[in-house]
Symmetry: C2
Subunit: 174 residues, 2 copies
DNA sequence: ACATTATAGTTAGCTGGCTAACTAAGTCAA
DNA sequence: TTGACTTAGTTAGCCAGCTAACTATAATGT
């Protein structure tokens, strides 16, 4: 589950935005500004998450697979289901599982009823790794978000939903 | 300027969050929820942006370089300056410039005073490409954000600043 | 003046995504 | 029942980032 997005460092000044808006009348200056700000903060959060995980020898993709497995009742899921939930291709999931299996954090269990499919199971070592990483991750996240009260968090969710609703208009094919 | 981040598709339900919070008492459920929501929407926005740019034969990295050049007074900048503003390494910028130069959208101009450094200049074709892409990008972005009034955009900026202030606590090395 | 250090850019090789093509196994309809 | 289709997983090869090492040039200090 890696996402490619802008690695913005240098957000435009209001002056720059107005210069561009003068040439391109379609520009909605506050929309652009909020959009870039959102991508920028999300980028930095993602980098911070990488930094946290790397201190435990994990990367986002593999970490997320472990979490998805722990969510399951018997800590078991099919690769195709994991791929879908993680938002990666099945090919990518094969690679993630290879890495996790090599580290002993998950294991492949062959199904007897359908010999095409296999089950991926979180091992004890995998659970132990999560028990090491998650408290650190949750503690850091708690501290990161502590400047935001419940009302602001709620507001943020409402705003994000509104933006999300507009995304089809952004990515339309025409 | 590509950023690696979660490609989250399957956000946890409240039930799942509570299950994790029961095992890991450090968990701050609303913090986790808002954090993942933010990464998810940013991810989808980035994918939408990719989709828009690809219809004009561009990728985020190269597109951003063109914009940075257009921001400059004489449409000219040094590779190292571009790298810093784009948030990529100089090595990556070399590759971006190679691609843009091959497409004729920028050109390398050798400096006479310091023979180590070169200047990158936006060509007429590069400006024409921006004049093709930016109206489409701005129009799509306007439509995407049209569900958000000015007050909400302002709120979003305040919230993002608050989160941004907490990022050092997230990525601290200890 | 000349050895050291710093700076600008490039190259080589790694990584973790991706798509497309493939194997193997199950399903279904003529 | 057998040929076409679907599904699960893997493999091969591409791409755009990255780091580390390199060349060339400039600046600095003794």
């Amino acid at each position: 589950m890696s996402l490619i997005m802008l690695h913005l460092r240098d957000l435009p000044t209001l002056e720059t935005l107005n210069k561009f808006a003068a040439r391109y009348p379609q520009a909605d200056v506050t929309a652009i500004s909020s959009f870039l700000h959102l991508l920028r903060v999300a980028t930095d959060l993602s980098i911070a998450l990488d930094s946290c995980l790397s201190q435990h020898g994990l990367l986002q993709g593999r970490w997320w697979v472990l979490i998805l497995l722990m969510r399951e009742d018997n800590n078991t899921a099919m690769p195709s289901s994991l791929a879908e939930k993680a938002g990666v291709t099945r090919a990518t999931m094969t690679g993630l599982i290879d890495g996790l299996a090599q580290s002993g954090l998950v294991e492949r269990v062959f199904a007897q009823d359908d010999r095409r499919s296999i089950q991926i199971r979180l091992t004890e070592a995998g659970q132990a790794k999560l028990d090491e990483v998650m408290p650190d991750y949750y503690q850091r996240l708690r501290e990161c978000m502590q400047g935001l009260d419940e009302a602001s968090r709620q507001q943020l969710n409402v705003i994000l939903d509104a933006i999300n609703a507009g995304i089809p208009a952004f990515s339309k094919k025409s």
